[in-house]
């Protein structure tokens, strides 16, 4: 009788002991103006067409809560099970925060709550609370502002976003990505520039990284 094989869950991001996969996690929420939906949709589509970054490391993109345009607005973001979330968050190397007032509002409101698994309910806080003892490599924090935001004005729990030194700004402070209706060509170009920055980073930490 053959031995029953033990099932081991392997984190695909860490095959062979080291991180071998860029896993980009897009953290976002649908907003009243639907700007985030347009922007994330374009970025997601562009990233999914990419198989590897500039250092030939394979790239995978996860965008929890994303639904196609045919889905209802309410279901576009935020409605996702904890198990799905846990899987999506495992092995993330790059956290891309799509910053809007709606997103920051949601994170602030969730900051004091815990999930059923005892984790911070705020997604951003969950990622920011990761320490080197928990993951082999802390995710690079990318900030994509869709609005002119003064980060110092925003506090998620005990964290003032303006005090975080390791943001990798995809736009300079208080600048924003343009909206689709301001010009499709520039809209696409700006997202391409953001992708170039992201894919040019590689797995090795830069001076801004927490690692």
């Amino acid at each position: 009788m053959p031995r029953k094989q033990k099932v081991v869950i392997v984190d695909p991001a860490q095959i062979g002991g080291g991180v071998k996969l860029r896993k980009v996690y897009i953290s976002w929420v649908a907003d009243d103006l639907k700007r985030a939906y347009e922007w994330v949709g374009q970025l997601r589509e562009a990233l999914q067409a990419v198989t590897q970054d500039d250092t030939s490391t394979p790239v995978k993109t996860v965008c929890p809560g994303w639904r196609d345009a045919s889905a209802s607005e309410e279901s576009m973001a935020g409605n996702i099970s904890e198990v799905e979330l846990r899987d999506a968050r495992t092995g993330v190397t790059d956290l891309l925060v799509v910053a809007t007032s709606a997103y920051l509002n949601q994170q602030m409101k969730q900051a004091g709550n815990k999930s059923d698994l005892g984790q911070p309910a705020s997604e951003l806080l969950w990622f920011l609370s990761l320490g080197p003892q928990l993951v082999p490599r802390l995710p690079v924090c990318w900030l994509a502002p869709l609005e002119q935001l003064k980060l110092k004005r925003y506090r998620i729990g005990e964290v003032n976003l303006g005090d975080l030194p390791d943001w990798h700004h995809l736009k300079r402070d208080e600048a924003r990505f343009i909206s689709l209706e301001e010009g499709k060509s520039k809209f696409v170009d700006e997202i391409q520039e953001a992708m170039d920055q992201l894919l040019g980073h590689g797995l090795n930490p830069c001076q801004r990284c927490r690692n």
Partner: protein, 179 residues
């Protein structure tokens, strides 16, 4: 308790309710940093027709009264009632500070100063201000500092206008006594 008690006064309708909710969300996100407590009529109330006790309490407590101004607001009896309460408080004690946002176009004939009022005599029950200087527009303003309406048709521009309103509100909060 937050030291800045904001009251957002607006006329329910399309798109003004959405504008108000969106403006509220932008303010709410920075409420800790700017020490704000924001009151906005429950969106479940119908068209500003309900004058609840909560509204009265919030009106009497507010330190900043923000009007999302459009023609419908000016023509609404309930909205003008809120404005009148705020004006009466302001005329007696310079509180709350009266802050206006041009959310949509306003019929020019609705927005004029009564000459009689400049002498301080009340000639009608309508809300009026003693001085033009008491009327403080948060915006939005264009690049030539002309007052314009919120550009609801252009999301990018609208988000810039919200940012401008927040910046101007922050400056107002930090400059006591400047109406």
């Amino acid at each position: 308790m937050a030291s800045n008690q904001l009251f957002i006064s607006y006329k329910h309708g399309d798109p003004s309710t959405l504008i108000a909710q969106s403006f509220y969300d932008h303010l709410d996100a920075v409420s800790d940093a700017l020490d704000l407590n924001i009151y906005m009529d429950d969106k479940d109330n119908l068209g500003g027709d309900v004058w609840s006790e909560n509204v009265g309490d919030a009106l009497n407590r507010c330190t900043h009264f923000i009007v999302l101004l459009n023609t419908a607001y000016w023509l609404s009896k309930e909205c003008r009632r809120e404005l009148r309460v705020a004006l009466e408080r302001f005329e007696h004690g310079k509180v709350p500070r009266l802050l206006f946002v041009k959310s949509e176009e306003i019929r020019p004939d609705l927005f004029t100063f009564n000459k009689d009022r400049q002498s301080g005599e009340l000639t009608s029950d309508d809300p009026q201000l003693c001085r033009v200087g008491d009327l403080h527009f948060l915006g939005p303003f264009d690049d030539n500092t002309r007052l314009v309406r919120l550009d609801w048709d252009n999301k990018g521009r609208l988000s810039d206008q919200y940012a401008q309103l927040l910046n101007r509100l922050e400056r107002t909060l930090n400059s006591p006594g400047q109406g």
